[in-house]
Symmetry: C2
């Protein structure tokens, strides 16, 4: 029988009533002729409670024990989901990560799935069971310990099962009904996309559209697992939600698919930094070690430094990071200067910027997207502070007070409110 993977996140299994609603959706797919693998998260709030206990017990906790404690939330949901399905006369059985087993690396708290044993679950399907309920977010290390995959890891569990079982599709049920052209809270014209490519979804996920975990999209792209994002809070059918798929499945695509934003960005500029081979490594090495997530980087052209001493090449180096990492970044850079690893005249910090990006695979074959973007922003009087581009994305840093205006202007400029 064709196998479908269905994943329900924490708000979709928040209590027994929500678990029943989710189980109804599973039953409907069984009735349509699927064998179903259901991946469940912990009931909303449970994982936070467990993590809180671990942190209170041991601030520098042993990750092996963290994983043993925190994984219990998903185990509870898995058993309750199986019981709920049985009550609906759907033959179901639950599995914890070690039971399948889901083999992972030993990187406790951030393990990677290395393989999934199909045998035991295949045998149950052959016996007449119609649903295997899997506790998400967890696995088994080579040492026989429980591992967890990191926050949002249940999405990754779902995609890994879809790949291992050659599932027809992997449906991610969540509290939104799909992927939008932009954040509907910012633009009333935001429109739900019917389809989006893996590449675009990856750019959107890393740009702050927090619907899918980036790793799960990467995995889906690698194994060509068709992902569907849809709401567990609404009636749904075969056409609901947004399909994340290979671009071959997307007939005629717009040049730009979506406008993303990231509100709390900071722009840091090292003024008159000595320019020599290895200077970028000398700057960004310490930042990485300090856990600063550097995003955009811009280096101006070099010039001769004015002033005393031997002539030297200098430049300004600008980069962005989340505002809450500015303190760490400043400390790391000042320490590097104190050690004599880098030299700069000043560190200018602007914590009042936001990032706005347009994303679309159509950019590959269409010129003029950047020009159209900059024109639209200029027409609204929005000054661009930093620009960064990739093959399918253009991002700009702007003053935070213009963020909503910029998103709306770009949404209009690329006519994203009109159907594909």
């Amino acid at each position: 029988m064709p196998i479908l993977v269905m994943k329900f996140g924490g708000t979709s299994v928040a209590d027994l009533a929500r678990i029943r609603a989710a189980a109804e959706k599973v039953r409907a797919e069984v009735a349509r002729g699927h064998d179903v693998i259901v991946i469940v998260s912990a009931m909303a709030g449970r994982t936070n409670e467990l993590v809180g206990w671990v942190n209170e017990t041991s601030p520098m906790y042993d990750a092996r024990e963290y994983d043993a404690v925190v994984s219990s939330g998903e185990n509870v949901t898995a058993g309750l989901m199986a019981l709920t399905l049985q009550e609906m006369d759907v033959p179901a059985r639950s599995w914890q990560g070690w039971q399948v087993p889901i083999h992972t690396t030993s990187a406790h708290g951030a393990a990677r799935i290395e393989g999934i044993d199909r045998a035991a679950i295949d045998a149950k399907f052959a016996e007449g069971f119609r649903v295997a309920v899997i506790a998400g977010f967890q696995g088994l290390s080579p040492e026989g310990r429980i591992t967890t995959l990191g926050r949002g890891g249940s999405d990754t569990t779902a995609v890994a099962f879809a790949a291992a079982f050659d599932a027809t599709r992997c449906d991610i049920y969540t509290d939104v009904d799909g992927i939008y052209t932009t954040d509907p809270r910012i633009s009333a014209k935001a429109r739900k996309l019917t389809r989006i490519s893996f590449e675009e979804m990856l750019e959107l996920a890393s740009l702050g559209a927090k619907v899918l975990q980036t790793r799960s999209v990467e995995l889906a792209m690698r194994y060509k697992v068709r992902l569907r994002v849809l709401s567990s809070f609404e009636d749904t059918d075969e056409t609901s939600g947004t399909l994340v798929c290979d671009e071959d499945e997307i007939m005629e695509s717009k040049v730009v698919s979506g406008v993303a934003h990231s509100r709390d960005e900071a722009k840091l500029t090292l003024v008159t930094v000595e320019d020599r081979p290895g200077i970028a490594a000398a700057i960004f090495g310490p930042l990485a070690e300090a856990g600063v997530n550097v995003d955009m980087i811009v280096q101006n052209i070099s010039e001769q430094a004015q002033g005393e001493g031997a002539p030297r090449e200098v430049t300004d180096m600008t980069f962005s990071c989340p505002t809450d990492q500015v303190g760490r970044a400043r400390k790391a850079l000042e320490a590097a200067q104190a050690r004599g690893d880098i030299r700069f005249d000043a560190l200018e910090v602007d914590t009042e910027v936001s990032k706005v990006s347009v994303v679309g695979i159509g950019m590959r074959s269409h010129a003029g997207v950047a020009a159209r973007m900059f024109t639209a922003l200029a027409a609204e009087g929005v000054n661009i502070k930093v620009i960064a581009t990739s093959e399918i994305k253009i991002s700009v840093l702007i003053d935070r007070r213009y963020m909503e205006l910029a998103v709306q202007a770009l949404h209009d400029a690329f006519e994203l409110d009109k159907a594909d």
Copy 2:
């Protein structure tokens, strides 16, 4: 190194502060030179919450899924206990039942331990770990599913580990500081026992002194595991609590060690029941099938029935059971009469009785205990309704309103307030 088993029940690990207090006791034993195996229950209230969810989801639940859900409470405590010990610089590691593994039967919800693999834990002790924290109450079935041992099963887990690892002792930490000569809420003269034999403890456990699960005492007796019951809420040392041990370890024992009581008993009498071979089976078979826990049974001598028809032998048959099982008992007996399996003139029910018992291994070698007991009760005007005896116990059913008075009178009569 000598191995000590320490078990902490639900109230002893009710929150993070209680877990720390328990961990302090473990650390003290490590400092005394023990390698320690710690058995933990779920945090107080957690198991009830999980059981409630299962019952609400599926009143006739699949016991395999019940076990998968309910066992998660102990897993959380085990991880938190290991983290707490690590914070105290005690090398500790947690183990869930399937990890050890603890092999059990497949009787989900009431599984029996069949064996414990020492290898993995021995290896950790050899590596320098000083404490193995084990999630109590659970195990692994031959089919690779999680099993639970039934309520109070963590005591059984503790004794099984003590037997498997030849532990010097198995300390059961709970919310009382030992085994008393009688219930201190009934008699202010109740005195804590320093030692008590397995046999006496078994009689007391089944008579309503709810400190230790009966199965765990049976297991301790079979494998000669020295059990100690003591409080996790007080400072304790090597002499605290009550030692439950082989009678060889008890030098000079009193004739009677304790007075037990069971408040909510009912007395049922089948009046003028036909007396023939097999009649007891015809009565008590259906009661057992209906889940009635029949305790005491008394059959009067037979006599010729008066009245019409062929002469027949008749008798009165009296038995006791918990009051909340009277409805079930009545239904089962009336159904048996309706089927013609038994014949009786009336079923008399007295739900206002209690059971009071004296227990002591000294009875084996001392005559006159029954006479002394009955004299003491008669002196207080307490009428005895039913008597039952075993080798080390005499129980009587009496009117419930006399229960406290009877307990106090017997405690005085056997001088239980005086030190052993």
